[in-house]
Symmetry: none
Subunit: 232 residues, 4 copies
């Protein structure tokens, strides 16, 4: 009410009670409870009571932080997406050896996407996408789509360097991604596979996928350079 101290900064460090719906700790607590319940049961089957119990906050409090069930779910997915796709594309930022980069990136991508946690999250989004299509769309747009764009950029760079020749880069990027996941995504999401593929399996798939990709799109120059560096 009076004179906040002079060193009051961008971060409000006062120990005072945070404003309604503003306490990030409580927010995180709710999201964490929601994660457990939504991931475990799916959107429809999850009840706000379950979340209340799991989060250890009262019903009313949840509704202070989130307008309704749908918005809470969206917030969770937003978080989840952030976590999932974080750092996934860094390896594409510094252009070095083409094949190695593609393998490294493809491996990281496949591991992430087929990890148990991420598969469950994706299943939940897919299940909810039926009733809230925008939600699924938003998830795709800000997750996989963004990644796709990064791949396109990277491929363009390789084309500029004369290492690749791709008639339709956009399509090429999709092909690359799919080759890295060959079969895994569908197997996981339909729970035909009940646990994530091993690193070895993924590496085998990705190596082969990259091989196919490069055989199709690699230029003479690329193969010449590869032979040269191999004999070196």
């Amino acid at each position: 009410m009076v004179d906040t101290t002079a060193d009051s900064d961008l971060l409000d460090l006062r120990k005072g009670r945070p404003a309604a719906g503003q306490d990030p700790v409580k927010r995180a607590q709710i999201i964490e409870g929601a994660r457990r319940v939504f991931i475990d049961k799916g959107f429809e089957a999850a009840s706000m009571n379950d979340i209340t119990r799991e989060a250890g906050v009262s019903k009313g409090t949840i509704y202070v932080y989130f307008e309704n069930k749908e918005e809470l779910f969206e917030a969770l997915i937003e978080e989840e997406r952030g976590t999932i796709f974080k750092n996934m594309y860094e390896v594409l930022d510094h252009f070095e050896d083409l094949r190695k980069t593609l393998v490294k990136f493809g491996t990281g991508l496949s591991i992430k996407i087929t990890s148990a946690k991420v598969i469950q999250a994706q299943r939940t989004v897919v299940g909810a996408a039926d009733r809230i299509p925008e939600l699924g769309a938003r998830f795709y747009e800000r997750g996989p789509k963004r990644g796709h764009d990064k791949v396109v950029s990277f491929l363009n760079e390789a084309i500029a360097r004369g290492l690749l020749e791709i008639p339709d880069v956009d399509l090429g990027a999709y092909q690359f991604t799919e080759l890295c996941l060959a079969g895994l995504f569908r197997q996981c999401i339909f729970s035909y596979r009940t646990k994530a593929p091993s690193q070895a399996e993924i590496e085998k798939i990705v190596t082969s996928g990259v091989d196919v990709f490069l055989k199709a799109y690699g230029t003479e120059k690329f193969f010449a350079e590869e032979r040269a560096s191999a004999s070196a």
Copy 2:
């Protein structure tokens, strides 16, 4: 339990009334109603009343034929799977021109899998897969998996004929399928795409996919034959 006594109701013209939950006509009738409702609304949003109405049978009767909503859904999916993947693989049965066959098969596959109806069904299965993992597994196993096996056979035939050279045929088959769907499956299932891709788009993707596949795995012999038939 089967033969009801001779004084069986005059109205029942079939040979003896079937035991409770045993009449296959009624069963089909229920499944048909369930199909319309589940596909239209998804598992959670579908109400047993809707199904009752759509199937034209009473609530009680449904519960004689199926333990509960979940079991009815499972039965439907079992059926649906059969319908979806039926005839999809016929084109692979008669080996003719390799590239043309692959394109034709790939196109049919992509159209089917990305059709609104099938995407809906898959979304529902995925959504439910979390709670009933066997359901998703069974769906995959008897649907996509069986198709995959057909592709493997076909590729083996092509290898036998010296047209392809594939180190890991199983993996190659996955790669082929994924190349035909490049990006579409994920876009559809997350409802980033809200309607099925056009035939033209699919054809473009499949043509490119087959091209990549053949560049990677086609033998000298294959390309020689292709050049020959082209110049003919």
Copy 3:
């Protein structure tokens, strides 16, 4: 199940279970429970659970018979209105002695409108009219308004017979009704009076009200006839 007997008539007398939402006994039971609760607590404060308990039927059943709380309340009011205003206007149907008829009618009207039960019902409607104005409007329209129209007809008859002379018959009818209730309605509805006025009190008020009304609107002819019949 087949062949309802030949004498099946307009009234379905079968003892079979009535269709959903069609059993008039159950309907009456629900309405009766609703009456007790709504009248006791008012629209908002009455809970569907209370009504469930009071009516001795399950929640679901109420919702089979009535779309929602509001509609249940409307149905109750509809009934209530019917009960309240039934037979109230019969006395106006056979034109006899003017003054006597007016007194008789006015007395009946006042007794009805100020009876504890009716006052409570009106209070409930008024309380609800705030949130559901159409409801109050409908109550007025089909209750008091209809009565008002009957009074207008009656007064027109009297005018035609040369017994009354009223510049604005519509207004005259309102004046008559208000004179019969002089003060009572407001006193009752605000619960300034906690019990219904006595018959004696009402008779006194009505007699006086009719007197005022006739002094204002009675014709020479009317008074002449009255004098004549008095001296007879």
Copy 4:
């Protein structure tokens, strides 16, 4: 309880901070917020949060000044009553031309009582009267009843002057008031009329009402004087 100690907070410039729930300024502020919300939404639909916002005080503070929602509402009605009926009866204080005075008073009364705001307030009181009968009673007693007494006084004055002859003055006063409202009150309170009647309509009703009243109760002397002043 009143005198807080000398070291009272520097910020409080008033003579000692009032004891909890004792500051009349804050009390008025709360009542004012409550007025806006209760009148706008009715008792049930008004939320304490709305009032908090409208009054600009905290939830806790309201609960220091008023035990609960009901009590706050009661306090408001107490106030409101004062406001509504204030100045309504001034016109009766100076006896001048009888007919004109009655018309003027009747018009003012009808306009007030049928104004949207006042109807709203009355509806709310009526709605609540069932649960808190004393509230309605007190409202009537200190509002309409007090007005009624003023009318009685005025009529007695007119009787004393030989202008009126009324066997039962108390009843006459009720009759007069009702004649001025002929039909309007019930129409408004049941929301059959959704907006207040026009000044013209009220004037017509009141003029007619006063006419009826005077025809019934006016003395020879009154009519003689009126004829005289008319011909003057």
